[in-house]
Symmetry: C2
Subunit: 220 residues, 2 copies
């Protein structure tokens, strides 16, 4: 089966930047390309959009095919369409952004991916296409979202924490997502203002030092 058109058409792909915190650092999910171009190189998961699916749906489908990860909330980052960004010809991609708790998933290879792996954002392999640019843009957008407490986006931050957590644990998570450190007292003020945080009355145990109070997010 083939498809004929009166005018040439670009291909359209979607890519999803999936961020998570693993081992205390911000990481991004990448796939090793099974096929040329850039065979063997690492890339943002994604692929060609199908004719009957929404862009976001296509992005999620490709993500699941390539990494096994599914059903996560995403938001659009933007379209990338420089004429020479793909050596196969004209390929325009629409990039999406996601933040997921990493215990949800066991990344694995799939249809078009030799392998899927998490990489710390500060220790990336060379990337295929213009994916380094897309990743940098997504990283900046993520920090903006979390800083601005866009709640639907930033709620995910609490998925990186256990049900009850210490303020230090929370600070670690937010600092990792925002990519910068903050003052302890200021963070605590910010957190308790911005979010409904409740003191459980419990104390952490097993630490090598002074036990810390345990808090819980009041979800409505």
């Amino acid at each position: 089966m083939s498809y004929t058109y009166e005018f040439p058409r670009p291909s359209v792909t979607t890519d999803i930047l999936v961020f998570s915190i693993r081992d205390g650092v911000l990481q991004v999910l990448l796939i090793e390309r099974k096929l040329d171009p850039f065979k063997g190189a690492w890339a943002i998961p994604g692929g060609f959009v199908q004719m009957d699916e929404d862009l976001a749906t296509g992005a999620l489908r490709e993500l699941e095919e390539e990494t096994g990860l599914s059903g996560i909330p995403i938001r659009q980052l933007g379209a990338y369409g420089a004429p020479d960004r793909d050596p196969r010809g004209r390929v325009i991609t629409v990039a999406f952004l996601a933040l997921v708790p990493s215990d949800d998933l066991q990344a694995r290879g799939g249809s078009d991916a030799e392998d899927a792996r998490w990489f710390p954002v500060d220790d990336l392999p060379p990337l295929a296409f213009d994916h380094a640019q897309i990743l940098a843009d997504g990283r900046a957008e993520l920090a903006r979202d979390v800083t601005a407490s866009i709640h639907d986006s930033a709620l995910v931050a609490f998925d990186f924490l256990p049900e009850t957590f210490t303020l230090s644990q929370a600070q670690q998570v937010f600092e990792t997502l925002r990519g910068e450190e903050m003052d302890k007292r200021n963070f605590r003020k910010w957190l308790t203002n911005e979010w409904a945080i409740e003191d459980t009355g419990e104390k952490s145990t097993g630490g090598r030092h002074r036990p810390a109070a345990l808090f819980r997010l009041e979800r409505d």
Copy 2:
């Protein structure tokens, strides 16, 4: 000449939302469609992207073809790709946003446009495709940009003013762009803090009332 592909491909278009201030109100440039679908309806200018041009370049080319307007700074708004957004089949569009001084141009019809006209954003005709949604998104984005004084975007605001202007004139322009009124004294404080505004020592003339001091933007 025709083009054959192994897999079906969507079409890709670009659209540019061009905003301006005319007659003291925020207006948007629309074209009347010459062809089906939606023949005779109004739409955001735009069209099919060519194989060798960047998305932004294509958007500007289409804009010039359809309206005669060229060489304006644009920024990307996002991609719209619902499968049923175009009755002709799968068409994905990448929308751009621009703000231009309206005296630059005389909008006119062109290749694919019967007519090009400015419409006040609060008095729009029914729009083709999902263009009402795109326009609403662009309107919100414009207000955000101007409020946040993203200077490269907001600098254009001063193009709506004469070389020397009164503070009231400036307030009119910013209120129109932001879509809301503000207190006179607060506006003046904001303006002089946020921008390098210089008192020329001159006074406006010809007004029916008390002459106003004339200011100038110090451009670097």
